[in-house]
C-alpha cells in the first residue's frame, strides 16, 4: 500500500465536497488552492485513475451530449484516507522566489538595479493581493469558513510582503546617500 502524494489529497478533498470531473477539479484548484498548492492536468487525470483503482473514488460516465465526461465522487474508504492525512502533521513547506534569489546576488549590479528587483516583487504581490481580494466575496457567499481563513491569510501575507519590499527599497535608496542619479523610470 503505497502512500499517496499530497496532490492526491487535494483531489480527495475536492471530490468530497461534491462530485467533480478532472476538468472541474483543475478549475477549482486554479481558483482556490493554487497559491499554496497547484496542480496540473498532467497530475490530475492519472491520479484520478489511480485513486479509482484503489477504491478511494468512483467515477461514473456523465456525458454532455456526445462529449465523454467522467465525474468522480469519494468513497467511504477515500473519506477515511483523507481524514487520516489531515490528522498527520504537515511535511512539505517549500518556497521558490526568484526575486529573492536575484536580490541575494544583487551585489553584482548597481544599487539602482537592486531597487528594480524589489519593485517587480512588490508589484507581483500587489497583483496577487488584488486577485485574492476579488475572490473573497465568492468564498464568503459559499460560507466556507476554513477556505476563507486561508484566503485572509493570503491577503495578509501579500500585504506584509509588499510592505517589506517597499521598506527595503527605502533602505537601499537611503544608503545610497539621499541624492544622486535616480536610476529608474518611476
Amino acid at each position: 500500500m503505497e502512500s499517496l502524494s499530497s496532490t492526491a489529497y487535494v483531489i480527495l478533498g475536492l471530490v468530497r465536497e461534491q462530485p467533480r470531473s478532472g476538468y472541474e477539479i483543475k478549475a477549482t484548484v486554479d481558483g482556490t488552492t493554487r497559491f499554496f498548492w497547484a496542480a496540473s492536468y498532467g497530475q490530475i487525470y492519472p491520479e484520478l485513475k489511480r485513486l479509482a483503482e484503489q477504491g478511494l473514488v468512483v467515477g461514473s460516465d456523465a456525458p454532455t451530449g456526445g462529449r465523454r465526461r467522467t465525474v468522480y465522487e469519494i468513497t467511504a474508504d477515500g473519506e477515511e484516507e483523507l481524514k487520516a492525512w489531515l490528522r498527520r502533521p504537515p511535511e512539505t513547506y517549500e518556497m521558490r522566489e526568484e526575486g529573492l534569489l536575484k536580490l541575494f546576488f544583487a551585489a553584482a549590479l548597481e544599487p539602482g538595479e537592486a531597487v528594480e528587483i524589489l519593485r517587480a516583487m512588490r508589484a507581483h504581490r500587489l497583483a496577487t493581493n488584488a486577485q485574492l481580494r476579488a475572490m473573497k466575496p465568492i468564498a464568503e457567499e459559499k460560507d466556507a469558513s476554513y477556505p476563507l481563513l486561508v484566503l485572509e491569510g493570503g491577503l495578509e501575507f501579500t500585504e506584509w510582503f509588499a510592505d517589506w519590499c517597499e521598506r527595503v527599497e527605502q533602505r537601499i535608496l537611503a544608503a545610497r546617500g539621499g541624492s544622486g542619479g535616480r536610476g529608474a523610470k518611476a
Copy 2:
C-alpha cells in the same frame, strides 16, 4: 541557444564569488538560499557540466590527495549571462504549504483538530526562525549586505507567519464557545 534554468544562475552567482566544487555549491545553497531556492546534487552536477560546455564556467582539477575534485570558476561570458538574468524581471513565485492545504480542508475534522494543524505550522516556522537567527552572525561577519537583507526578510516572514497561526488558533478556539474539551496536549 537554450535559455538557462534559475538553478543554473544560482550556480553562476555562487562561483562568481569564489571558485567552488559541486559539493561546496550544495553546502552553500543549504546554508543560504535553501529557504527560497533549493538545489539538489541531481541538478548541480549535470548543470555544472552544461555550463562548462557553454563556456560560462571553467572547471579545473583540484584533487585532495587521491580524491578527484573539480573546482569551477566563472568566465567573462558567465558573468555577462548572470548580470543579464539579474536585470530581467523575476518570473517564478511558488509556494507549497501542506499545512495551508490541510487547513483548507479542515471542515472534515473537529475544530480541535484544526487547531493541531495550526500548532504544527507555527512550530515549524518558529524552528525555521531559530535556524535563520543562528545564521545571522555568519552573514554579518562576511559583510554580505544583500544576503543579510534577504536573511532579515526571512526572519520577519517566519515571525509574521507564526503570529498569524497563533491568531487564527485563538479565533477558532473563541468560535468554539470559550470552553469545552481542550482536545490536545498543549
